[in-house]
């Protein structure tokens, strides 16, 4: 069973089916309300996957990724405005520009924030997010301040409007997944995992920790910035509190924790479950504060009951079941670890 589930052809087959299904979503779901959910779900799949490269692989929990999301949106809107790009398909070509600009911001923030570790890093990322929000608000000449920034409006009909955005978001999610998959298999990724497990030991065995951390941070931020750019174009109008929303950064983190921190598919699963649920809650209870209360309750239940996330929990269950089959039912948590401890005294 396990071998079947992990063999390469089955994996690629499942992946192909999943991609085809994702591509067909706008064919089956035609009304804008449903495709809107699809757009946001694809968006969060990409965001969670991108965040996981830093938070999951490297172990540096950033609660400030909303800064990159909003910065990407602002950078994109300003580039489009200055170049006078009209609404339609053309703006999509400029999304990588937003990614590059966000990467520059990530260099500056990362250089400072990555001087700290663990708890301090979390706090510094929160502070940086509010700093970027404050800049968006105060640099009125550039960003429009509290009045906000408008994007060119695509000339598409209401029924079709969401479809191009869905495919753009899906493409970004697949790009993020491909990068995440590649990093997981590369020497670079191995270095990141070593940093997560013990940064000082990683340094001692020759992992260039500072360069690796910063690189992971930049990749993660640039992807988030590009997705933010698409978001800004999609909603056509942004202002500081809306584009740089602490809740966005938090939702991403929750999705990754629900699915499985540091796994390839955990963030995808987390986003697929939570984003539709979140939209449903916001739609039904958004007017009152109850929306936040429900959200907080889901959050607490997930963290307390399943701190490791769905993917690791299920994987360990499968491996425990297959172990039992291989060795026999008597292989419970017997004295085996104890004998090994006696045989190999710790140094």
């Amino acid at each position: 069973m396990t071998r079947l589930a992990t063999s390469a052809p089955v994996k690629f087959g499942a992946l192909a089916v999943a991609v085809v299904l994702a591509l067909l979503v706008p064919v089956f779901a035609v009304d804008p309300a449903t495709t809107n959910i699809a757009v946001f779900t694809a968006m969060y799949v990409g965001l969670a996957t991108a965040w996981n490269i830093m938070g999951g692989y490297t172990g540096y929990i950033s609660l400030g990724h909303a800064a990159f999301f909003g910065f990407g949106a602002y950078a994109f809107g300003l580039v489009l405005a200055h170049l006078g790009v009209a609404g339609g398909y053309e703006p999509f070509l400029f999304v990588p520009v937003a990614g590059v600009l966000t990467a520059f911001l990530a260099v500056a923030i990362g250089w400072i924030a990555l001087r700290t570790r663990a708890a301090t890093f979390v706090i510094v990322t929160i502070a940086m997010m509010f700093m970027v929000q404050l800049l968006a608000e105060n640099l009125v000449g550039l960003t429009g301040g509290g009045a906000g920034l408008s994007f060119p409006v695509p000339p598409w009909s209401g029924d079709f409007y969401n479809t191009p955005f869905y495919y753009a978001m899906l493409l970004m999610a697949l790009v993020a997944l491909a990068i995440s998959w590649w990093i997981r298999r590369s020497k670079f990724g191995l270095g990141l995992l070593a940093i997560r497990d013990d940064e000082d030991k990683a340094l001692a065995v020759g992992v260039p920790a500072h360069a690796y951390k910063l690189t992971a941070f930049i990749i993660s931020a640039a992807l988030v910035g590009m997705i933010g750019a698409l978001y800004g174009y999609y909603v056509t109008y942004i202002y500081p509190q809306f584009a740089i929303d602490p809740l966005v950064g938090l939702s991403i983190v929750l999705m990754v924790f629900l699915g499985g921190l540091g796994t390839l598919w955990g963030p995808v699963l987390g986003a697929l479950i939570l984003e539709p649920a979140q939209l449903w809650l916001a739609y039904n209870f958004g007017a009152s504060g109850l929306y936040l209360v429900f959200y907080a309750a889901v959050f607490l239940v997930v963290i307390i009951l399943m701190p490791r996330g769905i993917v690791p929990s299920v994987l360990s269950l499968i491996s425990r079941m297959s172990n039992r089959q291989a060795v026999g039912p008597s292989d419970a948590a017997g004295p085996a670890p104890d004998t090994r401890a006696i045989a190999e005294p710790s140094p």
């Binding site: 400072i112 663990a118 938090l250 929750l254 936040l292």
Partner: protein, 292 residues
Amino acid sequence: MTLILEAVIFGVLTGGVYALMASGLTLIFGVMRIINVGHGALVILGAYLSYALLSSGAHIDPFVSLLITMPAMFILGVVLQVAFIRPLKDDREALSVLVTYAVALGIEGLLGFIFTNNFVQLNAWYETASFAIFGFHIAYVYVFGFGLCVAILGAMFLLLYRTPFGAAIRATMLNRTAAQLVGVNVDRVSAVAFGIGVATAAAGGVVFGLTNSFDPGSHYDLISRLLTIIVLGGLGSLRGAIIGAVVMLIVEDVAAVVISPVWASFAFFVILVVVLVVRPQGLYGIRVRERI
């Protein structure tokens, strides 16, 4: 020049409130190695509790209402710790951030549901009445608030440095395992320390609510400031939190006068960046070598 001097005086007076709130936050970090992102929301909750008592039929004065809200918030803190912080086993630091963030959202949502999202403020005679000293007009509320914060901080220091229980708290802050080995009930110490931190948040909330208008969403701004202060002072250092708070508030108030009010909060974060570049561990922090 007079304006700058006035800004410095206000910076010290308002810095006292932030010192109190940041002390609770840094105490919680010191004892449990967790960041209580919900601290800002708990401050706002404290302010709303006093607001409810003030606008109720009993019309209780905000400072007097602390006799009710502080014990209530202490119990709430103990409950929160036992229910949500204690169950966390692995990766406490990251998970505790998420859990306390969720607590903050829950409080924000509940307050929005009960009190709506309109701005309110605690009103009392001393909020508008002022006295003149050396030509400066200072509202009584700032002095009363400063006095309250100094008194509570003093009580906290007495508890920490003059009582056996304080010794147990400090031992837990220094080395949790060693404290456990010498017989300190670290679970109890943690719960009580969390309760103390939350109770001081209630006191901070009253002074904050008397000097600012607030709504359920005010906690975002507040927590980003408090976290900046405790990073500046060094995580887990009470001295650092107090000095950090006063320095930050003086800088902010002076920047508001010298540069512009809209950039005042930005000065706050600029200091954080400068400190991190020069001294990543903060003013009184110790450099973290291993994952804590």
